[in-house]
């Protein structure tokens, strides 16, 4: 169920990218940002939230366990 909802959320955001409802509207939000640009700025924020959802609810823990054995490794980082 959770997986289906996540797939649905991804598909919905992809569809929302095609915002034909603002296609011909030059209305400036706050008097400065054209609505078409503002919408897609908000879309970027929504994409970030979606990624947060994916990381939280669909993270491939099995890969992490198989490779790292479930424990953090030591060693120096670059």
């Amino acid at each position: 169920m959770k997986r289906a909802l996540i797939v649905l959320a991804v598909a919905a955001l992809y569809v929302l990218h095609q915002d034909f409802w603002f296609w011909r509207t030059p209305y400036p939000v706050f008097g400065i940002i054209p609505i078409g640009l503002f919408y897609h700025g908000c879309f970027s924020v929504a994409a970030s939230l979606l990624m947060w959802l994916l990381v939280r609810h669909a993270w491939p823990h099995h890969l992490e366990r198989e490779v790292e054995g479930g424990a953090g490794e030591g060693g120096e980082e670059s």
Partner: protein
């Protein structure tokens, strides 16, 4: 000249970072040089992976495209990338990282060879990837030439600017390998994140605020469309969502995915990626659109005039005349002209360094090609066995020099704008190669013959688009020149910016046919051994 000097200081810092990384390397092993020993931490991994994807297209190309086409640029290229790229890194990048960690893979072709039990087919994939990657490298050198020339007010000619950038990139890649490249990319990403915010403030103040500019753009019929998408077809807009699929098929991105120390480092990368895109692209696009209200900069006025002439008289002109006007109307240097006009000299220099940071992102592509050549060809065909690992690293370094020099000479002769080259060849081609990695990781039934069919299709399709566009010159802006139609339906047309197939950009049929061929040919051909399939798709409790 002061801004150019600031940029030269910046270039010296970048070279020093490369040399410093060279000193930090813990040996001469291939994994250390090509993958920084798979040891990148969260901060460096996020910023360098993002920086690797931000080439000249991000700042010069985006503002230039927005200058000509309006706000649509952000929706076309940035917001779709902000969704598709982190999604593919999440789904594919993490799996590639896990395979690399378990089995020691360094390049995508090594994964393909192992997954599909093939050898020479892997070499074919390498060759197609390499040919498609070179234009991306050329973009960086062209961007460097354009930037240095513009920042110095023409004192540094294009050919010299490109040569300086090529030499600097070559130096830190040569010495620092992946560690140097990642550190430089991190430094550069920080610079151009800061750059966007400062540029908006300085140029906005110089123009007396943006509110008046937006109002006058919106009220004039000749410019009001720049604030909407009314001149862009929804099919064209939709087509662009296929382009970001290229990111995860780019070898330099996949190779970068192998450098993370731990898998957890992907988490912040995918979450912050769309926000980084927002921070960098929105100022560039906005400023590119606002440049249409600038009337007191002769170079910008000349561009506006060239565009007007192209629109009103282009249909009656010879193709060569149209190309010349397109070149003159191109906005690739628009953001630099705005800085020259509105920023104080010292600040223009610092901001110019920020732009240089973006255009120099070709370093990862150069390193990736070097990695691929030494691993997929030199080592695979016995070079490492005969000459040793140290010779392999030296071969990689020599390859870096040869490649950079070749790319530089091509950049001097390339006539098209930065943006067009990137989109038409490299991005579309790699997007159409994305079904390979998806099939390798997620479909047990995929085979090497399916992979070969997809790869050959991509090579043929890219060639066909290039030949078509050379054969049929671009028409003037406006309705496309229909080349082939059936029953009143436009099937194939030449547009002012490229090619249209049934109203879509070529990338759409390229990706769909590539995926179909992978599926259909795999269904008809023998699968890899059960042991190999089990290795990639183990039964989990």
């Amino acid at each position: 000249m002061i801004p150019a000097l600031v940029v030269f200081v910046y270039l010296a810092v970048v070279v020093y970072i490369g040399v410093f990384a060279f000193r930090r390397s813990k040996g001469q092993g291939a994994e250390d040089f090509f993958l920084a020993n798979r040891s990148l931490g969260t901060f460096v991994f996020l910023l360098s992976l993002f920086g690797t994807n931000m080439t000249a297209v991000a700042i010069l190309g985006s503002s230039g495209h927005a200058f000509t086409n309006g706000i649509v640029t952000y929706g076309l290229m940035a917001s779709s990338s902000g969704l598709v790229i982190p999604l593919t890194i999440f789904l594919i990048g993490t799996r590639v990282w896990a395979l690399g960690k378990r089995y020691g893979f360094i390049t995508p072709v090594q994964i393909f060879r192992d997954r599909w039990e093939c050898s020479h087919i892997g070499t074919v994939i390498f060759a197609v990837q390499a040919v498609l990657l070179v234009p991306y490298i050329i973009i960086g050198i062209m961007g460097g030439g354009t930037t240095l020339s513009a920042i110095s007010g023409g004192f540094v000619p294009f050919w010299l600017g490109g040569a300086v950038v090529a030499a600097v990139v070559m130096s830190y890649v040569f010495f620092g390998g992946m560690r140097g490249t990642a550190w430089v990319n991190t430094f550069q990403t920080l610079l151009f994140l800061v750059f966007g915010i400062i540029a908006i403030g300085v140029i906005g103040a110089g123009m007396g605020g943006f509110r008046g500019a937006v109002e006058s753009l919106g009220s004039a019929p000749a410019t009001s469309w720049l604030l909407t998408r009314e001149r862009i077809s929804p099919y064209y807009f939709f087509s662009y969502t296929f382009i970001p699929l290229s990111a995860i098929a780019f070898p330099h991105i996949l190779i970068f995915c192998l450098t993370a120390k731990r898998m957890v480092q992907f988490k912040k990368t995918v979450i912050f990626y769309p926000l980084c895109i927002l921070l960098i692209w929105s100022p560039c696009v906005f400023l590119g659109v606002m440049a249409n209200r600038v009337t007191d900069v002769p170079e910008i006025r000349a561009k506006q005039e060239a565009r007007r002439t192209l629109a009103t008289q282009g249909a009656r002109m010879e193709p060569a005349q149209r190309d010349d006007l397109r070149e003159r109307a191109s906005g690739d240097d628009i953001i630099l002209l705005l800085l020259q006009r509105y920023a104080p000299l010292w600040l223009a220099g610092i901001l110019g360094a920020g732009i240089m940071a973006a255009v120099m992102a070709s370093d990862s592509q150069i390193l990736a090609l070097s990695t691929m050549f030494t691993e997929d060809v030199f080592a695979f065909y016995g070079g490492r066995r005969r000459f040793g690992e140290s010779a392999q690293v030296q071969t990689g370094r020599i390859f870096v020099i040869i490649l950079t020099v070749l790319a530089y000479f091509v950049a001097l002769r390339a006539p098209e704008t930065i943006f067009e080259i990137a989109i038409q060849y490299a991005f579309s081609g790699f997007a159409a190669l994305s079904p390979l990695m998806i099939a390798a990781l997620f479909w047990r039934g995929s085979t090497k013959w399916g992979a070969l069919a997809s790869t050959v299709w991509v090579a043929l399709a890219v060639t066909a688009v290039a030949v078509f566009q050379q054969t049929y010159p671009a028409p003037a802006p406006g309705p496309p020149a229909v080349v082939w139609s059936a029953g009143g339906t436009e099937l194939l047309a030449r547009t002012s910016s490229g090619t249209s197939i049934y109203g879509f950009m070529p990338v759409v049929p390229m990706v769909l046919v590539s995926a179909f061929l992978m599926f259909a040919v795999s269904k008809l051909t023998a699968k890899p051994s059960a042991a190999t399939v089990e290795k990639y798709f183990p039964q989990r409790d």
